[in-house]
């Protein structure tokens, strides 16, 4: 068995968790992970030995996710008007059930703008560094830190409101 394949298989749980966090559905997550493996396998020659395989696969997964969102939006002729840097809170926070549960935390995160959510999941859940997240998503580190801070503060406020 090629070592690289073994490593890829080992990443599956984390990729699935990331996909679930992004998409909000386990089915969608499985589908994303499957596509990620397919694409990674077909482009395995593009992966450079010595670089991080996990970052590479997170990036593939994220770009598949973005492409699908884009395709969906254009198919539905529905524009996503949400500002990637917008604050969430207020109504969105109140809509979510009163009890503070992990489910409530998930629901809150799924209401965040996609761009904030991807950064939040990579850094907080997957433990990717700021620099890696910036490379992986192809956005400046300043954007990473400001979006991350917005998401984190919003979640903190949400948790405190629910927990109070």
């Amino acid at each position: 068995m090629r070592e690289i394949h073994r490593e890829m298989v080992g990443l599956l749980p984390r990729l699935r968790r990331f996909a679930y966090g992004l998409s909000g559905s386990l089915d969608e997550a499985d589908d994303l992970v499957q596509s990620t493996f397919e694409r990674a396998l077909s482009r395995i020659d593009q992966w450079q030995a010595g670089t991080r395989l996990d970052s590479w696969m997170y990036r593939i997964l994220h770009s598949i996710r973005i492409n699908r969102l884009y395709a969906e939006n254009s198919r539905n002729k529905k524009r996503d008007d949400s500002d990637p840097d917008e604050q969430i809170g207020g109504d969105s926070a109140r809509e979510i059930e009163a009890k503070l549960t992990l489910e409530a935390v998930r629901q809150f995160i799924w209401k965040l703008p996609e761009e904030q959510r991807a950064i939040l999941l990579l850094i907080v859940v997957e433990g990717v560094s700021y620099k890696e997240a910036s490379d992986l998503l192809g956005i400046p580190i300043g954007t990473v830190t400001s979006r991350l801070a917005r998401a984190r503060l919003a979640i903190k406020d949400f948790v405190e409101m629910k927990g109070a």
């Binding site: 984390r14 968790r17 966090g21 386990l26 907080v124």
Partner: protein, 240 residues
């Protein structure tokens, strides 16, 4: 520094600050209960976020249980197989109510080290479908990985019968007379998944393009009695 912006504070919680800035933040924290509370709030909510998605690590959806088969399923003891007498079944059959009858076990052949020669690539049962949709089908067809619909029918029939009835080590041949394509399926190991389903690892040798292609896989029998391939192993040389 006499105040801290949110970005810096979050970076502090994440351990992303350089030592000098970190020291500055800690000095300010020492002086301000409000700031300490904010950091606590951030840490607590971060811990919740960290925990919130973990159940996705270990799939609960049936398809994915098996995708993790290599990591999880084989941890249960292999299921001993019935003796080699004709008419004996490799695994306990389901009765009309779908409940498994207990078979009388009479020893079982040892498993072959499939994994040693095949790269485990966890890809779900609908692989062919996805690949076809995504335009990779030509390469995969060439690799013998995707079967044409007619070949697929012949293959599935042999797979279902073979996995349901045959002992490990038995070769089950299939062929599609229209195309001349065919191959062999060899169950090599039987085990019970965590959810109680019976699963069998099998070798899948196909003769599609002149040369034989070795694949492997794991199929599990669902509550409906249907065998579904859950995991596919690609050949060592990549295939794709």
């Amino acid at each position: 520094m006499n105040s801290i912006d949110d970005i810096t504070l979050v970076a502090y919680v994440d351990g992303e600050l350089d030592p000098a800035t970190c020291a500055e933040v800690e000095t300010l924290l020492a002086d301000s209960e409000a700031l300490r509370q904010k950091v606590r709030g951030l840490r607590e909510s971060t811990a919740l976020v960290r925990a919130a998605f973990n159940h996705a690590l270990y799939g609960t959806t049936p398809e994915f249980d098996a995708s993790r088969a290599r990591a999880v399923l084989p941890f249960r003891d292999p299921v001993p197989e019935a003796g080699a007498g004709r008419g004996d079944r490799a695994i306990p059959p389901q009765d009309a109510t779908g409940k498994r009858r207990q078979p009388i076990w009479r020893g079982w052949p040892s498993a072959l080290p499939l994994a040693a020669s095949l790269a485990a690539l966890v890809i779900g049962a609908s692989l062919g479908h996805y690949f076809t949709e995504r335009g990779f089908d030509r390469e995969l067809r060439n690799a013998g990985f995707i079967l044409s619909p007619q070949d697929q029918l012949a293959f599935q029939k042999a797979l279902a019968q073979g996995l349901e009835r045959e002992l490990s080590g038995t070769r089950i041949a299939w062929t599609n007379p229209d195309t001349g394509h065919g191959g062999e399926i060899v169950p090599i190991r039987t085990f019970q998944a965590e959810n109680g389903q019976y699963c069998r690892e099998f070798l899948d040798v196909r003769r599609i393009t002149g040369s034989a292609q070795d694949h492997g896989g794991i199929a599990c029998r669902g509550a409906d009695g249907v065998w579904r391939v859950r995991v596919r192993y690609l050949p060592e040389n990549g295939g794709v």
